[in-house]
Symmetry: C2
Subunit: 367 residues, 2 copies
DNA sequence: CTGAAAGCGCTTACAG
DNA sequence: CTGAAAGCGCTTACAG
């Protein structure tokens, strides 16, 4: 690092800052300022362990001085990556996914990756989209939030060379890919135990589609909690739903039609709880005065409903962050994908939390 | 195009299709199959007018045969683009934006561009994000959906070399950038005229923040429509809101506290209408039996509220598509950005539509 | 209308 | 631990 050179460089930098249309600093500029080769700059930035502490410091200083930002297109081209991960979502307009997506985006953007979001329930269909991303090397990795995709879409005899797949929230059963989930069974228990603790003995539930993994787990937890408290599972207090607001509205009509109405209802999604409560309200039934309602998810609107909804909070941002972080691991270690045992270890089950608000209360006439 | 070569190529292609980890076809492969140079393939794909019809057809056939898909990282590197546009949204979790974003994503992905979405109300702040994207060449263009950013963030003496900016929905007043908007004034008139046609003579409104462009325009249309019908603007029937559900709840309490309640209320957003109706419902007031309510936006949930909401539909997907299409134009024609007159022409005002559902009816006691 | 060739800004065996 | 050099897959003046 000769002194004169440094002075010249600084003058050049000044000029560069004034003229915006001047070129942005490249790795070569950093190398010149730091007095090393571009290869060393590249290493100092991407694999710091490979260079000496001294060199590393010089490079970092040069980066700061020049305001260098890596050109990702160049890196991706050289590394034969796309620089993008793709998220497959069942319904993009469902507010449940917003925080998950922003969690994914956060982790991905820190890693210099773009996030592309595709709706699997869009007209062009899930099959085509998956084929597009999985077979055509348009992405470095996939996060799948839709458990209703069939295993056949992913499997096939030519697994190698395909980007890794990470499931989150939902997953495809009998398909041994890692997934970031919550303990849905436990969440359902939390909901029911809360209602029992309040004194409820007549508890119904509004479920999701029967072929859905989440439905099955939550229904299991629901039954377990009742059984443990010595309460029977009353079959006609089971109401079929599909997680949507609209099905919550329909569920309310079903509840109204019952001769022996349960004093509390556990809805498997906040959206259904919302529709359920609104429709009951319309028919003159008050929550929680006449019936207690617990939701599941803790979507943004849950705290602002009338009444504010008691629900099971899913750590949505964390789910997204975790799924993205694990996917990044998988992307970095291609050999790991061949190791079935390691893959099974990889999944994470994240904690769930009961959030008590105003939609639950003691039953009016305690038994 | 020698016959033997073609046969060899086909064999090679077969092999390639079997081995997934084999390399994807590059422009060179297409050139070989079509019997032209890579330069010609590039032109045939990007600027078809520059090659003969015959050549074009040969190239297209070769593309189909090889299954060629362009490597965008390479193109972007060569063209010195980022291949991304950035969308700045005030609140990502607001469902109003979902369809706008998918409209943007549709147009952008057809043009081979990534879409990055950033929330301007996030902790890291709008200023930093704009600086990041505007000054640091991390994107080829910006779509801004937040009119509350100050002009100062965008202006400055070094406009050239910066990516173009397109506003949508909202915009920054006194800053002559093109914007894709709706005629908010007209939308408000549609709402009020509908209520008047139903027989209402006592009409209030729940507005957005007073410094918001949308609020100002809608309030103007509201007053105009009343004036035209010879109805007075009753000042204490104006209720301040901020577009959120929560403020709709508060507005309901304000309405309940009035001695002379208006028989109809025009809410400047569906979210506020939703909160307003829910809270009234809670207090035993029925919509539309006791009071008619009109919203604005037609968000997804509007049709599923109880009652289904009469509202002013914004063509959200179209807003997104149009904003993206215009931004693409701007990106292709950098010289246009210097032409103030052309820039002013560029904006679009999209049509609004009254959607009559069940939240509005004749006033109970017609005057 | 077409081709040969340079080069976008990185990374990474390879050699030392 | 470091550097010289090749090359990722495109595009685009330039020359014909």
């Amino acid at each position: 690092m000769k002194a004169e050179n440094r002075a010249e460089d600084l003058a050049a930098d000044q000029e560069r800052l004034l003229k915006v249309d001047a070129k942005l600093p490249r790795i070569r500029d950093v190398a010149r300022v730091a007095g090393v080769s571009t290869a060393t700059v590249s290493r100092a930035l991407s694999q710091p362990d490979l260079v000496s502490a001294e060199t590393r410091a010089a490079v970092l200083a040069a980066v700061a001085e020049t305001g260098y930002r890596m050109n990702l297109a160049a890196r991706n081209l050289r590394r034969k990556q796309t620089g993008s991960i793709v998220v497959l979502v069942p319904h993009l307009s469902n507010p449940f996914f917003s925080l998950i997506l922003s969690g994914i985006a956060k982790v991905a953007s820190e890693a210099g990756l773009n996030v592309l979001v595709a709706d699997t329930r869009e007209p062009d269909g899930a099959d085509r989209q998956i084929a597009e991303y999985l077979y055509n090397n348009r992405s470095d990795g996939l996060i799948v939030l839709d458990g209703n995709l069939t295993e056949a879409m992913f499997s096939g005899d030519d697994r190698k060379g395909r980007p890794p797949v990470m499931f989150a929230c939902e997953w495809v059963e009998d398909y041994d890919q890692p997934a970031v989930t919550v303990d849905n069974r436990h969440g359902a228990r939390l909901a029911v135990e809360h209602l029992i603790a309040l004194g409820h003995r007549h508890i119904g539930h509004v479920a999701g589609p029967s072929d859905n993994v989440l439905t099955r787990q939550r229904a299991g937890g629901f039954r377990d909690a009742l059984a443990e408290a010595g309460l029977p599972t009353v079959e006609h207090w089971f109401i079929q739903g599909d997680f949507t607001l609209r099905s919550g509205v329909a569920a309310a009509e079903r509840w109204l039609a019952l001769d022996d109405r349960p004093t509390a209802v556990f809805c498997f999604s906040d959206a259904m709880a919302c529709g359920f409560i609104s429709q009951l309200n319309r028919r003159g039934i008050r929550v929680p005065d006449d019936v207690s309602v617990v939701g599941f998810d803790d979507i943004d609107i849950a705290a602002h409903l009338i009444p504010p909804l008691t629900t099971i909070r899913q750590p949505r941002a964390l789910i997204g962050e975790t799924a993205a972080a694990l996917l990044l691991q998988l992307m970095r270690l291609p050999e790991m994908r061949e190791d079935a045992a390691a893959m099974k270890q990889m999944g994470k089950i994240l904690p769930l939390e009961l959030v008590v608000r105003d939609s639950t209360a003691k039953p009016r006439r305690a038994p």
